[in-house]
């Protein structure tokens, strides 16, 4: 099946960004056929330069790196380039910033090889890769926003349902079946949620700047 896919379609061109060479080796080995690692970088600056030059289909980027890290790469290259964040810790708020800045998703480094390949293939096709823990983090963020803001809840009932199902461990296909909507619709909901997250993060930044006399 996988071989078939790789013979039919050209391999997905990937740039790996991680400050640990051992890690890059590991991920490269895990990717196997179907992917072609066209470039590697160990810091944000060289990653940004490399991505601009190579124009890969997908960037797999560590969130925590010395000197700015993954967030800088996302800010510079997303959403033109599809970037999946690979992180060790799931509870980082940086993650929300990275996702809000336009990363298509994120995966923990403990993700098994098969799952990783599958998720990266979906990400390369433009599908937002939402893990349960990211959905959880986003839900918490919106709940916080709803508590703070006097206005209406930023999420629609449907969007919240979609997020909750993803957080409970359902794949998009399964979420669609359970909510009686098409998987594409689920994907659109996720995209809308991400857009709202971006808007809210940006608004919050602006508010922060005004409150602290930076604007």
């Amino acid at each position: 099946m996988q071989q078939q896919a790789s013979t039919v379609r050209p391999p997905i061109r990937v740039v790996l960004v991680d400050d640990h060479p051992v890690w890059r080796d590991g991920v490269r080995a895990d990717l196997g056929r179907g992917f072609e690692v066209v470039g590697e970088a160990s810091d944000a600056d060289s990653a940004i330069a490399g991505i601009r030059e190579l124009a890969p289909d997908l960037v797999v980027c560590d969130l925590q790196m010395p000197g700015g890290g993954g967030l800088a790469v996302v800010r510079a290259c997303a959403p033109r380039t599809r970037i999946v964040m690979l992180t060790v810790s799931e509870q980082e708020r940086d993650l929300l910033d990275a996702v809000a800045a336009g990363a298509v998703g994120y995966l923990t480094k403990a993700t098994p090889a098969g799952e990783l390949r599958d998720a990266l293939r979906r990400a390369a096709a433009g599908e937002p890769v939402f893990s349960p823990s990211l959905a959880m983090l986003v839900l918490g963020e919106f709940r916080r926003l709803a508590r703070q803001a006097t206005g209406a809840d930023p999420l629609t009932e449907r969007e919240r349902e979609v997020l909750q199902h993803v957080a409970r461990g359902y794949a998009y296909r399964e979420v669609g079946e359970r909510l009686h909507i098409a998987p594409k619709t689920v994907e659109n909901h996720v995209r809308n949620i991400l857009a709202k997250l971006q808007i809210n993060r940006r608004q919050e930044l602006v508010r922060y700047a005004i409150e602290h006399g930076l604007a």
């Binding site: 890690w23 925590q64 923990t108 403990a110 098994p112 959880m136 709940r143 957080a167 409970r168 461990g169």
Partner: protein, 377 residues
């Protein structure tokens, strides 16, 4: 900050003394007892010099009862003697009193050293000293100088001085108290910040090194024992680095669920993810025990019967209750063919219903299983 206040006070003391010396110089012809006046100004000079020296060598002593006592004593002497050194009764004739400014420094000192109460009291004492001195000098008041109609004005002047002194002492003391409290808070915050920095530094190092290596071992090892060990170490280290130091009941629940997950992981070789938000409601002891027990059962089922590889335990506050979902990607089953009340359903449903919660099970062959629990919070 406290140092700057004391320095400001020293400057004020010198200005007040200079003013006093100037008054002495200009009013020398009006003096009844010039020698006493010069002596007093000299004593005030000595105290001013002494206080300035202390500021350089041992500023803490400026707030000791000894030093403040000497200062207040000198101020009181100046107040009481004021009436004596002038050709009485100077208050009514509008002469510039000798020691009206310098004592303010003493009042402020008392306030700064011992708080607004003592500051205000010192102000009252010094103001009263002035009143006594004026009264002594004025008695018996020469009729042509003090028509009886002027008396209220004269009294008012004395009262005003007293009130102003008391206000200066009170406000000075209060301001100092605020400054000290602010300073304490700043020091505490700085210390906390330094601690957080140190922690973050360690976390970052371990994060970049050890956690990465553990994750690599977890993913790349074919040895299940090694994988399990790496996962366990990973979890422990993570808790140490990112775990909330504050022990809230909700956090304890999450920790207990994680521990249950770790046991099932070790026993059945699957991955358990416990996802909980920060704003979980607190549960009572029995409800918590029931929930942890039920989730443990559901996890064991996923590992033992469903041959699942991943389980997500998801928690969420919901309408004043706690919602918990345990979802596996295992074999699933047909709920219609499972006789209610038998086996797992009793161990889960029984526990939850006993504490006033309810249970829903969602499963289909080949589609995994989700157990949904709602318990009162």
């Amino acid at each position: 900050m406290e140092r700057s206040v004391l320095r400001g006070l020293a400057v004020f003391r010198w200005l007040a003394w200079t003013w006093m010396a100037l008054v002495l110089l200009l009013a020398r012809r009006a003096l009844e007892r010039p020698l006493a006046a010069v002596l007093l100004v000299g004593v005030a000079f000595a105290v001013t010099v002494w206080a300035t020296r202390l500021l350089r060598r041992d500023p803490a002593r400026l707030c000791s009862s000894h030093v403040v006592g000497v200062e207040v004593g000198t101020a009181l002497a100046l107040q009481v003697a004021d009436g004596v050194v002038y050709r009485a009764p100077h208050v009514f004739t509008g002469e510039q009193p000798l020691g009206v400014a310098w004592p303010i420094a003493a009042v402020l000192s008392a306030g700064v050293a011992f708080g607004p109460g003592v500051g205000a009291a010192t102000g009252v004492v010094l103001g009263a000293g002035r009143a006594v001195s004026s009264l002594a000098a004025a008695a018996p008041p020469p009729v042509e100088v003090v028509p009886s109609g002027l008396e209220p004005v004269w009294l008012l002047s004395l009262v005003t001085t007293t009130v102003l002194y008391a206000l200066a002492g009170g406000v000075g003391g209060h301001a100092m108290r605020l400054i000290r409290a602010g300073e304490r808070r700043i020091t505490a915050a700085e210390r906390e910040l330094a601690r957080a920095h140190a922690r973050e530094h360690v976390a970052r190092r371990l994060h970049d090194g050890v956690l990465q290596t553990l994750a690599l071992v977890e993913r790349r090892s074919d040895d299940p024992v090694l994988t399990a060990m790496a996962r366990e170490q990973d979890r422990d280290l993570r808790r140490l680095l990112f775990g909330t130091p504050v022990d809230t009941p909700a956090r304890e629940l999450v920790e207990e669920l994680r521990a249950a997950g770790a046991r099932v992981e070790a026993a059945h070789g699957l991955r358990v993810q416990v996802l909980a938000p920060d704003d979980l409601p607190a549960l009572t002891g029995p409800v918590r025990a029931a929930l942890v027990g039920a989730v443990g059962e559901a996890l064991t089922n996923a590992g033992r019967h469903a041959a699942a590889s991943t389980v997500v335990v998801y928690l969420e506050p919901h309408d004043g209750r706690l919602f918990c979902s345990v979802r596996d990607d295992g074999a699933g089953f047909d709920p219609a063919r499972v006789v209610p009340g038998v086996g797992w359903s009793r161990s889960i449903t029984g526990r939850i219903e006993e504490v006033g919660g309810d249970v829903e099970v969602d499963s289909a062959p080949g589609r995994g299983t989700e157990v949904r629990l709602r318990v009162p919070a």
